[in-house]
Amino acid sequence: MLFYRLLLALYPRAFRAEYGDELLRTFGERHREAVTAPARVTTWLSLAGDTLVSAAGAHADLLRQDLKASLRTFARTPGFAAAVVLVAALGIGATATAFVITDHVLVRPLPFPRADRLVKIYQDQSFRGYSRMELSPPNFLDYQRDSRSFEAMAAYTPWSSNLLGAGEPARVEGANVTGSLFAVLGAQPAMGRTLTTADDRLDAPMTVVISHSLWQTQFAGRADILGQSILLDDQPHTIVGVMPASFTFPYRETDFWFPFRFNGGSADDRTNWYLNVVARLRDEVSIQQARTEMSGLAANLAQAYPDANAKNGATVIGLRDELTRQARLTLLALAGASLCMLLIACTNLASLLLSRTLDRHRELSVRTALGAGRDRLVRQMLTENVLLTAMGGVVGVAAASLLVPFVTRLVPTSLPIAEAPTLDGRVLGLCVLVTAATGLLFGVLPSMKLASSASLDGLKEGVRTGPSRSTERLRSFLVIAEVGASMVLVVCTGLLLQALWRVQSVNPGFDATGVLTLRTSLPIPKYQVTQDRERFYRTVLQEIRSIPGVANASYISFLPMVMRGGIWPIRVDGQPEDPNNAYTASLRLVTPGFFDTLRVPLVRGRDVRDSDRADTPRIALISESFARRHWDGLDPIGRKVTLPFSDFEVVGIVGDIKVRGLERESEPQVYLASAQIPDGGLVFYSPKDLVVRGSASPQTLVPLIRQAIARADPLVPVSDVRSLSDIVESDSAARVVQVRVLGAFAATAVLLAAVGLHGLLSFSVAARTREIGVRLALGASRSTILRLVVGRGMTLAVVGIVAGLVAAGWAASALQALLFGVDPGSRLVYGIAAGVCLALAAAGTLLPALRAMRVDPLVAIRSE
């Protein structure tokens, strides 16, 4: 019989109460009829099956009833329903957004097989200030040969090329890689094959693998793509494979991969630091062991080649850990802000549901009197609350899916993550979890509390339906928590805003307004000879300068803030030989007129001139910080700068440019005349970026510039057409997004806190109407009542603000690395934040206070 009683437990309580006895009796009769053992087993099974099905049906019936009742209730009070849905949506939406992005960047494994075994290897040149420096080819080859910790090692460097032989000439981003790269990553091609070490051999034919998007855009996705020959910088390459659309390495924009040819020239230079190295750890080797081995190898190289490698160490880090500290902090800040939002949303939700439950106290008392069981009431309230939060969850997820692409701009693109993060099953699962938890937690407690107190007492006249002491305390605590959390958000927003302004006010070292930039990369074999290049520049610049409205134009190797590296070790005469090779400078080649075009101040001496040619003495211009570092107090003009390939005489000093961006320290700069570089020298630095200062609009200028370039050489593609001010602005673009997102969170939070306070006080006043009436009747002035209500509200607000100040202080110091020197304890920001919260709290107390003042004592005492 126990078995049958257990079966009964599956039914809803009401059903059990009504038909339980009958069911048991029927079970008994069936049991008696089954005489043999097999018959008995059959009976058990069939009864169990029947019970499961009908019990599920009975529960479903109840659910249907509850849902219909809930929808009727919502229709009666749409405002309340809308408020709950909105608040739930805010909390869940914020959480979902933060989770998606944080998970995508910090948690989810990289899209390679066993990606946790992938590492990057760098030179440690901390003595020079670079803890992660790229490798030089000879060093890389030595490490590859001598190390035992890795299954395979590969090198790559980003490479832009002019692509001919497929549609329009185009400038494409790609990578120069060793054949082992695809094996290291474990990447498979979508068509054809990937590169292998066989492709690295000097006598092997020049091959290339292209990306899915390049195949679609430049080759129209043609099926016979394999074996097709294309020209990359005038060099023929045969396409041997196409990668799948999900493969993006090292960047999202990388469209082709072709093999390195380490043969002489710069490939033998141990100080030519430009290779990125990625490797796959052997199964039995830990990253710590690999680090130890690599440090040992680096020490060997330092001994064997002291000129190039002295004091060089090696760094090994997980591929995922490439994320900078700043980016990681940003993500954690986002997660923190979302948690604040969730907290506020939940407390608001709790408040709303609690007050609603209390509102219906009388209704529920009536229903209890009419015989509704306590459980039935709880069940119905629960259904209602869960339904509301579920709707809020749906809206929240929808909002998150809209918000995610926008907030993604916070994510650095340097990680090899293909797509922007999307909402997938895990996120939805989390949202369901959070929604359910919220709904149950904030739905169950009030329901149960209420149901236990709903009794015949509630029907009596004159009984106050006011909140009990503990409920009131709970709600006050909730309001304090809301105000506190809002404070944290407002303070952090304020600090980040200050940091943003500070960054934006940094002088980049040049005047970006009215300057147009574009890139014309001259393919190398064709423009190997310096004179040919110079002829191109002269022709183009002459034509452009003659365009009406153009003040000046010039060429430079790379634009500042676009190329942040490009540094060389420096020696100057008058200084002792530096065995550490510790001094570096940012090297650029320019044509005459560059500094005038960008309005970089020429402090002393002269600019590069047309007369500086291959047959005249080699000259250089240096930046002020260069002069300060190497010749402080002395006159630099006439002194010599030694670069690893030649000596240059300083003829001018210019102002410093923020090459590495507005926030970072840049190396001192040195500029050489592009006309003076020998044929085939410094190929990487040959000027590519054209800058044009003009008063005409870009719409007019750009076509004319393109025509000028086409006339000089129709096969040179024009790319990256941008205004210089856009480039400077985009340097702080991530910060702008930070501030906007956090600001939106903060604004919503403060509003919700004010609404929460308003709700609490309204309810309190309404419940205490009788008490207020009595006070007034006994002679209290209206202003006393006002003071009571406002006093209560503001006390709660102040407590919340104080708690918030403490929490905010802690949060701000955690964010210090993001603040760009702004004081995390800035009194201005904290003061304003407190002021804002106080003001909104005051707004929240306003209406309830007015209502309290207008209570008519006679009416209040009489009614009840």
Partner: protein, 123 residues
């Protein structure tokens, strides 16, 4: 005549009836019964083909009570046959109407099947 509970409901609104409901109505059309007796009666009529599970039975009864197809009766049968703890059910006039409507509907289906030869015509 229509349901006492909702004057605007007609028998057709409740068709087709779930099989369990129809069987219960047929069983009660003969006279008042208690739960277990209905199960036995239905099994007997269908030669063991239809066995109502108790859960299904009482869930259907609950719904039928709400729909006014049956009611719980106060009158009990003769002493010797009665078990005081049992609850007896009786079909209502409305219930008869609905049962008839369903029977007619089923008959109509059978006629259709005969017309197309799926069931052999009556001799």
């Amino acid at each position: 005549m229509s349901s006492a509970i909702s004057p605007r409901v007609t028998p057709d609104d409740l068709l087709p009836l779930p099989p369990a409901v129809f069987h219960i109505l047929v069983s009660l059309a003969e006279g008042d019964r208690h739960g277990y007796a209905i199960i036995q009666d239905v099994a007997e009529r269908s030669d063991g083909a239809v066995t109502l599970g108790p859960g299904t039975l009482y869930r259907s009864i609950q719904r039928m009570l709400e729909q006014d197809l049956i009611l719980e009766t106060a009158t009990r049968p003769a002493r010797e046959q009665d078990d005081e703890r049992r609850r007896y059910y009786r079909i209502t006039a409305w219930g008869r109407q609905v049962a008839s409507a369903e029977a007619e509907r089923l008959a109509g289906l059978v006629k259709l099947a005969r017309a197309t030869g799926l069931i052999p015509r009556k001799a």
